[in-house]
């Protein structure tokens, strides 16, 4: 199960999607929106995705985790507005035993963060917004 979701994420379908009678371990990760994202007080994040490539890249990462760890993987990522405290991304991974389940879950979120064409914009309590996309003047990732 690979999905982009405009609404709140639910772990239950992800866990169901990776259920396997031969797997003894299931690991899950939630990335949650937090307040401390740089200057000012963040009240939420806004996510934008290049949907076609985000879905195929997430599927590719899941397939890699499957091949590398023998894991079943499910991933869902929010698009649109996500309030502080809500999950922005959810990953579930099952495998025969817990080392592979944990490793697959970690691999998927690490690779997704590195590769998926998805961008977040911080929304501050004064109404200001700032993309984290390498071009904002106050973005530490910006090349200047």
């Amino acid at each position: 199960m690979i999905a982009l979701s405009p609404g709140p994420l639910d772990l239950a379908p992800l866990l169901a999607a990776v259920a396997d009678p031969d797997h003894g371990g299931t690991a899950a990760f939630l990335g949650t929106t937090r307040r401390g994202e740089g200057e000012g007080r963040v009240v939420g994040l806004f996510y934008e995705a290049y949907e076609e490539l985000a879905l195929s890249e997430m599927a590719a990462v899941a397939a890699e985790a499957g091949a590398r760890f023998g894991a079943r993987v499910a991933v869902a990522h929010r698009v649109g507005r996500v309030a502080v405290g809500e999950a922005s991304v959810a990953v579930a991974a099952s495998a025969g035993h817990r080392p592979e389940a944990f490793a697959a879950c970690r691999y998927v979120i690490d690779e997704l963060k590195r590769r998926a064409p998805i961008w977040k914009q911080a929304v501050f309590d004064d109404g200001a917004t700032r993309w984290r996309d390498g071009v904002s003047a106050l973005d530490p990732a910006a090349a200047r």
């Binding site: 991304v89 979120i109 977040k120």
Partner: protein, 84 residues
């Protein structure tokens, strides 16, 4: 004069904000490489600047900037990502 081809450029995040649209249609010379679409984008978009970590996609697949464009292609300018 070189034959012209039509391509669409998908834009995201700061580039989308600058363009006021999520895509721009361009007419470029046949043989134009993917990376060269940057120079054909509207001034407000190019004013944002293209950071070192930017990548390109062609018809929903990762591509190198040197790949040759064909009529009807869709390019995406992929700024450094921040999902997850």
């Amino acid at each position: 004069m070189a034959h012209a081809i039509r391509v669409t450029v998908r834009l995201f995040a700061s580039l989308r904000d600058a363009a006021g649209a999520d895509r721009v249609d361009l007419s470029v010379p046949a043989g134009t490489p993917v990376g060269a679409v940057w120079g054909h984008l509207p001034d407000p978009v190019r004013a944002v600047g293209l950071p070192d970590g930017a990548r390109f996609a062609l018809n929903h697949e990762w591509t190198l900037p040197g790949a040759t464009l064909r009529d009807g292609d869709e390019v995406a300018v992929v700024l450094p990502v921040s999902g997850g």
